[in-house]
Symmetry: C3
Subunit: 307 residues, 3 copies
């Protein structure tokens, strides 16, 4: 068994062995979720969200409740906790309630790790997104979904396409998939959406989606925020779809049976066409279910030592 995991604020908090154990556990949960219910009765999780995210909040809340945990939701947006109080003081207030896990979403990079560093023993911090830096539990569900389709990571030739620059999902997934030994990662998107930092390391960058897709067996389309299109040399969402969206014709350039992922929420008709989103090749709905399974695995693993 791997080292106990104390926090999960970045993919780098885990060794490869720990990641593989998390995925194995999540896979077991996906096969028989009822066997894991109520195995953490009376434990407590707090969702501390400085940025709205219904999807991620609900996924952690459902995962915790399935395990029998209490859940307290704290939306720190516009609330009294923001009235001049420091992030650490607010965090301490939450910590004083005796939770086992605190899930933090914050618009600024590094804050989940900062809070994890100040956490008391027995309090486990999970990063549910910090700025454009990381969203490691999303990477975990992407990895599980890919593994269910193509069990040997070294055989995966993945295209990740769209707004890589602003995507914490992309950053975390690239890091995790490389740790897990993925065969190949190709990045594709308008030049303005390519990251200037080290994110592209170990990947191949394409400036044309057709070229990137050829020979791929998995494609992950990223959500594009429509207001960002106006910063591109592309006139509108329709033209964006023609150049950078995934439709069935473009998908047909990939290997047959190539699977399609998207972290959601989708802009149908912009980064992805509806026929692709709803095609048998789409694993998008399975990703959502896997979000529940991987988060249950994560909560079980973090609270294992003190179980």
């Amino acid at each position: 068994m791997a080292e106990p995991l104390n926090h999960f604020t970045d993919v780098g908090d885990c060794s490869r062995e720990q990641l593989e154990q998390l995925l194995d556990l999540a896979f077991s949960i996906s096969r028989d979720i009822r066997a894991f219910e109520n195995t953490r009765t009376g434990r407590m999780l707090v969702n501390l969200f400085y940025e709205a995210s219904t999807r991620t909040r609900v996924s952690f809340e459902a995962a915790a409740k399935r395990l029998g945990m209490h859940v307290i939701n704290v939306s720190a947006i516009g609330s009294s906790v923001e009235k001049g109080e420091s992030l650490e003081d607010t965090f301490y207030t939450i910590q004083a309630m005796g939770p086992d896990c605190i899930v933090v979403r914050h618009p600024e990079e590094g804050n989940a790790a900062r809070l994890a560093a100040s956490a008391e023993p027995g309090v486990h911090v999970i990063n549910a997104g910090d700025g454009t830096a990381a969203h490691p539990s999303q990477a975990l569900l992407d990895a599980l979904t890919l593994k269910q389709a193509i069990p040997d990571f070294s055989e995966i030739r993945l295209v990740m396409a769209g707004d890589i620059r602003h995507s914490r999902v992309a950053r975390s997934s690239i890091k995790m998939l490389r740790m897990l030994g993925i065969g190949e990662i190709r990045l594709a998107g308008p030049p303005e959406f390519m990251p200037g930092d080290g994110t592209t390391e170990g990947t191949t960058v394409f400036n044309n989606l057709d070229d990137a897709v050829k020979g791929a067996n998995a494609i992950m389309m990223l959500r594009i925020q429509k207001e960002r299109i106006s910063g591109l040399h592309i006139p509108d969402a329709e033209e964006y779809h023609r150049e950078w969206g995934l439709n069935q014709a473009r998908l047909n350039l990939a290997t047959s049976g190539c699977v399609v992922l998207h972290p959601g929420p989708m802009n149908r008709g912009v980064e992805i066409s509806s026929d692709v989103a709803d095609s048998p090749q789409s694993l998008i709905r399975r990703q959502v279910r896997n979000g529940l399974h991987t988060r249950m695995a994560l909560l079980l693993t973090l609270t294992r030592a003190s179980a």
Copy 2:
């Protein structure tokens, strides 16, 4: 025993036999609520609200928690789930959490039924109000409250008064009470508040509240949104109260012991006077308690097959 009930998006989802069984069960719960507590432990309900409604949300939440169910509240107003994501995609995300029941409130007609049609087996959809079309669980609590006062529906001569046109409560209650064999329904309100659709079928329309009330043994006053008064040929709320509000003098025109209902929240002094709202003839507070009992009955019935 009646056919199992799968969804409850409209009164028409039920046969008369199913409605009567729901009412019988709700009546039993109203007699001994503790006997029904924790009989659905570990099950999950999601409140998916695209429109604010504290009363209805709290009523479903309390009903579910009394039964031992987990509850997740999702306010889809202004949240990320609305950022261009389709209603079906959001619904799927919720469904992927594995809830037994999803309670949907949406400002547009027909959306709860649309989602019910796409629900997976084992997921039961309840309509908590779709536009001005339906609010069937409110109708159920009205029917229970009336039945407790006048056990034989054929003896009920009910006046429903106020803004029928914009009232989903009125539409659902008329439909349900007619299925249950109510003796008579009289509608009364300003002409602008009379519905143009088939809602008036099987009812008698009065354009004077005094006339409608004569001989009635039950009166249901509807909430009027004050801003709608300005669209009438009535100068203000005081004048509205004089013409269309229920006060004690007007109530005295009905049969002695005539009962009074109101779905809440009440505008005291507009559609109803305080002395009537608080009189012994008022069943308004019992309606609120019955909201809990009927929703417990509904959740028990919908989850029965898989219990």
Copy 3:
């Protein structure tokens, strides 16, 4: 054993004996919280908040959940319950759900007591702040924190400093600490922040913080709302800090080992310096944990009769 406690809307709802029993129970909880978990399983608490307060809401929610109670949060701000509905009608709706405890925060003085007076048997009302009048559960946690540091109340020489006038915390704490036999209370703050009502009774008022601090063995700094500084003859927050803030030099004027309290959230650098807030003499974080312990004690006590 003291008389059973039915509501807790003001310090004056309790006898000295009842207060002492509450503190003894909270002290026991602070020593072994796990021994008290799940001792009120299936009971229900509703947080009915007409004013935002994440800290207080979370503290009651965590206390209730630790005891195994269901919790329903109702934010009445901008919600349908406010649409012209009377406070009593909303309260009745909440009460009809069958809660054991209703925690009320309201911007206007006296409303929690008004609702308690209308509550049905078995429904216990807790005031979580009504205007500037009272916040008795905060006073209870302050008393517990002081008692842990200085067990004999008659030996406590407490300075309370800052905006006394607008502080419900100050009002409740002064009342409770005097009932418990505190040795001395000194109030200090700008003249505009001194209360005009009877709050100062039994206290000594200082118009200079240095003088007040000399010989004190406990100092409670109150939160100042920055916008209120503009109403003073003090140009800005920095000058306020120089005149009325607690820094280490000023703290050194007190007895050695003098403890420091603050109800939170703190404005570091305004009413309190960071070195004092984080010093070993600061009990501010213990106050937050004691908030959980005293609220658990309160919920246990209120629901004892019907347990």
